[in-house]
């Protein structure tokens, strides 16, 4: 029984069957990649997992509890953090403030009315955010405006913000899309380091095979909304069905 269990999920947009009978099981403390050609339904599946879309049929269980019908913030509070394709951070705020917000969310929950408390006096939050910035090697940038950072740094910050919540499942949506090779390799190293240091399950949706084969322990191949195969990276590499899905029948 995995930490995330997707059973018989179907999602239809008008005449398009975006997801057809998707079954997926992500085992705890593994890195599980979901790959597939354009239009395979990867993003739809991800949006179902985080509560943005509700599937027509099927069930999604996280840690034994259903996530369906819950708002994104509730699903996050259950322990699923999401990293976006384009880094979603609080651009108007400083790096330190960015890091403190998820720490507050973890400590105080979805809403806390404390208009007379002082941010600077929440020593536990300040310490935790600073530690996370040290871990992410960003402590020297703490006073910087988040929007003024490079794309690689924004990605780093976003991953750090997600980790500071100590999620049980980290969802990554094409984390290296549009990145230069050097930034891509940095991100791979960062994710490897995260995996080595923490008890965390990572589910990653990715286009870049280099990233997938560097990180993943299990791979699910999605094509036309349905999982084709699920196996270890070595087996996937040579799988005829996968080649067919990616390169067409003639290959």
């Amino acid at each position: 029984m995995g930490i995330l269990e997707v059973k018989n999920v179907n999602k239809r947009f008008g005449g398009l069957q975006a997801l057809g009978n998707v079954n997926l099981s992500v085992a705890e403390n593994t890195v599980h990649a979901i790959i597939g050609p354009n239009g395979a339904g990867k993003s739809t599946l991800l949006n179902v997992l985080v509560g943005k879309l509700i599937p027509d049929t099927g069930s999604v269980m996280f840690d034994g509890k259903s996530v369906l019908g819950r708002a994104p913030y509730e699903i996050n509070q259950m322990g699923i953090s999401r990293v976006f394709q384009t880094p979603e951070i609080f651009g108007d705020l400083t790096v330190m403030e960015n890091m403190m917000i998820p720490c507050f969310a973890k400590r105080d929950g979805a809403f806390e009315l404390n208009p007379l408390a002082s941010v600077g006096k929440q020593t536990d939050i300040v310490e935790r955010a600073e530690q996370m910035l040290i871990d992410m090697k960003m402590i020297d940038k703490r006073h910087m405006h988040a929007a003024s950072m490079s794309r690689g740094d924004k990605r780093r910050l976003e991953i750090g913000m997600c980790l500071s919540q100590q999620p049980r499942l980290l969802l990554l949506d094409e984390p290296t899309a549009g990145m230069a090779r050097a930034d891509t390799n940095n991100t791979i190293d960062l994710l490897k380091q995260i995996k080595a240091e923490r008890d965390i399950t990572i589910a990653i949706i990715e286009h870049d095979m280099h990233v997938v084969f560097s990180l993943a322990e299990r791979i699910t191949v999605l094509a036309q909304g349905t999982p084709l195969v699920e196996d270890t990276p070595d087996k996937i590499k040579g799988h005829p069905k996968v080649r067919e899905a990616y390169l067409g029948e003639s290959a």
Binding site: Y73, A105, A110, N114, Q122
Partner: protein, 400 residues
């Protein structure tokens, strides 16, 4: 001090000193001199400075922090005024129950309107608040006449017979006997300064309101409100529910507006529906943007700026202009006066509009940004040092 850091404490002290000595500072010209028309140190105007300061400080908590632009905040001001006058009618002329009730009633009203309006954001939110405020105005004007006294406006009649009003109590708004409209006038040489009871009550409440606003800006709650403005998507996926935060900000700013309304009624025990009209809602938006939205002191400056120029420009008339330009030859003087007279008196809105456009185009950060630029010029700091720290002053240092 008071749980504030050094910079905020300094700011609070500066505002307190300015408010305390306002009767001197606003009357720099001798009473008989030609420049006396630029004096602003008379009770009625000073009261307006601080009351609209409170209104704008509260509005800034919603607009400046969360970015939700409400176009209906005058409704809460009006409701506050009605609540206060009803307290005078029912209980007596002591202003304390009126002020307390005006805050509570405006808060409840804001909860109701906010709950519905905050289902949408952006322009739709603005339109919803505007619609609610205009509905409130229309109802106060007609349907709710038994409560609001319609177009006459709500006031205290001698037949009202308030519950706690005794024969010895003053028959005008007072604070435990201290009559709001009474002033002590001090004459020094050619100058005269008036110290008005009502002004000082308003000024003290403005300082309390300002202090609370600083605390909110510096609190985790305030941080979350800025997060709402910055990126709601990230907020939702960080386990935070944006709606209760925005609703709380809406209610708090509604209560500030209610306090301002209650104080207006306490200075002059009248409440009319026109206080809820959309022009009044628009005015507080102008004040906040003109002063600097999202900054601590900006809204107060904006409120003072608009109220000052409104009064001064409205007082200037055609003959004043002729007096000023009489040294010019007639063919130049007459067209010039003809041109300028559109910007004075009743045409003051034209001046306000021009000023507002200039500020928005050349000083997007409002008067606060203007002050910062002047400060930088004086201290001789180059812009380069600012950039090195990576902190554009306008956004990350709201207190400056």
């Amino acid at each position: 001090m008071l749980g504030l850091d050094k910079k905020d404490t300094t700011l609070l002290i500066v505002v307190a000193v300015l408010a305390l000595f306002a009767p001197f500072l606003l009357n720099p010209f001798p009473t008989e001199s030609a420049l006396a028309q630029f004096n602003a140190g008379y009770p009625d105007l000073m009261q307006r400075f601080v009351i609209f300061g409170i209104f704008a400080i509260g509005f800034n908590i919603l607009f400046g922090l969360t970015g939700y632009l409400s176009f209906g905040h005058a409704a809460f001001l009006g409701v506050g005024s009605y609540a206060a006058v009803w307290m005078f009618k029912l209980l007596g002329y002591n202003v304390v129950p009126g002020i307390i009730l005006s805050v509570i009633v405006a808060g409840v009203f804001a909860l109701l309107i906010g709950f519905i309006s905050l289902r949408r954001s952006g322009i739709y939110f603005s339109i919803l608040t505007l619609a609610f405020a205009q509905m409130s105005f229309a109802m106060a004007y007609s349907v709710l006449t038994p409560i609001t006294n319609g177009e006459t406006g709500l006031q205290v009649y001698s037949s009202d017979n308030p519950l706690f009003q005794t024969a010895t109590d003053p028959n005008v708004p007072h604070l435990f006997g201290l009559v709001m409209r009474e002033s002590y006038t001090m004459k020094v040489g050619a100058w005269s300064f008036s110290f008005n009871n009502g002004y000082y009550l308003c000024a003290i409440l403005m300082l309390v309101a300002f202090y609370i606003s600083i605390r909110i800006f510096r609190s985790p709650f305030g941080l979350m409100l800025r997060a709402v403005k910055s990126n709601q998507q990230r907020m939702n996926y960080t386990g935070l529910s944006a709606r209760p935060y925005t609703l709380a900000a809406f209610v708090i700013s509604g209560m500030y507006a209610g306090l301002a309304g209650g104080l207006l009624a306490s200075m002059d025990p009248l409440a009319g529906a026109e206080r809820m009209q959309w022009t009044a809602s628009g005015e507080v938006v102008l004040m906040t943007i003109l002063g600097g939205a999202g900054t601590l002191i900006g809204p107060v400056l904006g409120a003072g700026f608009i109220k000052y120029f409104e009064n001064i420009f409205s007082k200037i008339n055609e003959s004043t202009l002729h007096g000023w330009f009489s040294w010019l030859p007639d063919p130049i003087e007459d067209p010039l006066v003809w041109l300028l007279e559109h910007f004075i008196g009743g045409g003051w809105a034209l001046t306000l509009g021009t000023l507002f456009m200039l500020v928005v185009i050349f000083l997007p950060g409002g008067l606060v940004e203007g002050g910062q630029r002047i400060g930088r010029l004086i201290s001789g700091k180059s812009r380069g040092t600012e950039d090195e720290t990576g902190k554009p002053a306008a956004t990350s240092h709201p207190a400056e």
